[in-house]
């Protein structure tokens, strides 16, 4: 399947700080790709580089096989973008925003827009400055969908929305996804949202794309292994796939990627009294994978961190 989005060695510095580090991203046509990472991990910067809003220091990005810097207007017309915070001109009415947006797109679907606004119970004559955050998100989504895009890029679309509005927003997104061939890339740090809609995820840690695989594969790969000892636990040596280990009383909790071979040998070499392998949900797996050495109440536990990569 062709890739709608491809980046090669994409790198961005802000001053001396590298916020996106040699990212090679591939988003196949028709997929829903969730870009995950903690605040400041580089998600928004990657998305802005994909849209040409931010210039990379090194590397390049391609959308539909065209270099982003040279995207033709015809290609841009195939892409819809929801920016973080849903920026709209607040002095406008919804119908003004519609007219401005429509003027850029030959294929703008007025009938679809009307249905979506009806679904969200939004009047075209409503003033945007009087809308809630959730309603502004809905207007942005309606405007994006009505462009009939082949690629939809959303930068943290559910940020700041309450649970009910977020669920409603995501269900609308799922309906949109059901159109064959449409590709969606969205960033989020709300794992429940990602789990609900994404069939593939990328996890950014400090600007590096550490994970790029199907969502299920990530959940299956990251496991917590709890080792129980009679007395004080021995020091746990490093090995490939060991994300972190921490000592809690007479136990060692290991977070590993792909619990097999080398990690099993490591566990056996420590001669624990009991071993328990715990499956993690996406949220737990993500937290264990990305949180690094700083955690709550570090005084009460000893720990080490060693982030490893999950591949396809």
């Amino acid at each position: 399947m062709a890739n709608v989005i491809e980046t090669h060695n994409l790198t961005k510095y802000y001053g001396p700080k590298c916020v996106v580090n040699s990212v090679d991203l591939r988003v196949p046509q028709g997929s829903v790709y969730g870009l995950l990472g903690r605040n400041g991990a580089g998600k928004s910067t990657i998305i802005k580089m994909l849209l040409g809003m931010v210039q990379p220091n090194y590397g390049r990005a391609e959308l539909f096989g065209e270099e982003v810097a040279q995207l033709r207007p015809q290609t841009r017309a195939r892409i819809a973008y929801l920016a973080e915070g849903h920026p709209l001109y607040r002095w406008m009415k919804i119908e003004d925003a519609v007219q401005l947006t429509r003027s850029f797109y030959a294929q703008f679907n007025d009938e679809l827009l009307r249905k979506i606004l009806d679904h969200f119970e939004l009047s075209p004559r409503a003033k945007i400055r009087r809308l809630s955050n959730g309603q502004r998100a809905q207007v942005s989504l309606a405007l994006a969908i009505a462009q009939d895009p082949e690629l939809l890029i959303l930068d943290d679309p559910t940020l700041g929305l309450d649970t009910v509005v977020r669920r409603d927003f995501l269900e609308s997104l799922i309906q949109l996804i059901q159109r064959r061939g449409r590709t969606i890339l969205f960033s989020s740090h709300i794992l429940g949202d990602v789990e609900r809609v994404a069939d593939r995820i990328g996890v950014l840690v400090d600007g590096v794309l550490r994970v790029d695989c199907p969502t299920e594969h990530f959940k299956e790969s990251v496991k917590k292994v709890v080792l129980e000892f009679d007395g004080s636990p021995p020091k746990c040596p490093a090995c490939d796939g060991l994300v972190s280990n921490r000592q809690v009383g007479n136990r060692i909790e290991l977070v590993v990627v792909g619990y097999d071979g080398q990690q099993k040998q490591l566990v056996e070499s420590l001669s624990p009294k009991a071993v328990e392998v715990v499956d993690l949900n996406l949220e737990d797996a993500f937290i264990e994978y990305t949180r690094g050495p700083r955690r709550s109440l570090p005084i009460f536990v000893g720990e080490e961190s060693n982030v490893s990569e999950v591949g396809t």
Partner: protein, 217 residues
């Protein structure tokens, strides 16, 4: 597309337009004495004596040009609406050029309002005790022309990212001094006008370059 963008830009600048119009009407009144009264005619009609003294008009034009340029750029940055606009299927140069044409057009049209009013009043029989000639307003026309530099400088200031206020405000301050200075150059037709045109072209080129290469983060 262009028509909608033009309407948007005009709508967003309406309050500046309204304020400038009010100030220009007041300038017209101070230049002609209309509505102010209480003084003899020679107190007001300095332009008839060949002493066009557009001090207040200069300040209004300076503020209008700077206000329009900053409104069109800082406004978009502050509200995050560059993110709404600049990914649309149109080249960035075209979108920014549309803003420039609207802003410069608004400035050039508005800044002529007091001049047309003065000319209309002066050519109406019974108002001014001498024939009216456009050269009587030469000083005001020079300001009208050179303040385009102020507009483009303000636009560049709003668009150009800068880490410190000093470097960021540099185009605004420099263009302010240059545009005022150019208005008073001797032999203006062969000195001030060509310099104004060259600086305008350089500023527009720089604005389009910055628009294409800067980060909208």
């Amino acid at each position: 597309m262009l028509a909608r963008l033009v309407l948007k830009e005009i709508r967003e600048s309406l309050w500046i337009v309204a304020a400038a119009l009010a100030a220009y009407v007041y300038y017209f009144m101070t230049a002609t004495g209309v509505g102010l009264g209480g003084e003899e005619w020679w107190h007001w009609l300095s332009f008839l004596r060949g002493g066009d003294e557009p001090g207040f008009g200069l300040v209004v034009s300076l503020c209008l040009a700077a206000g329009l340029g900053l409104r069109q750029t800082v406004g978009e940055s502050a509200r995050g609406t560059f993110q709404f606009l600049l990914h649309r299927p149109a080249s960035r140069e075209r979108l920014i050029a549309t803003k420039l044409v609207v802003g410069a057009g608004l400035y050039l049209c508005l800044a002529t309002v007091p001049l047309w009013l003065i000319a209309w009043w002066a050519t109406t029989p019974g108002n001014a005790p001498a024939p009216f000639e456009w050269s009587m307003l030469a000083g005001s026309w020079k300001i009208w022309s050179s303040m385009t530099i102020m507009y483009f400088g303000a636009f560049l200031t709003g668009l150009r990212p800068g880490r410190w206020y000093g470097t960021r405000l540099l185009p605004l301050i420099a263009c302010g001094f240059v545009s005022v200075g150019l208005s008073f150059l001797p032999h203006w037709w062969i000195t001030g006008l060509p310099i104004t045109v060259v600086l305008d072209v350089l500023l527009v080129t720089n604005i389009l370059f910055v628009a294409r290469t800067r980060d909208y983060s």
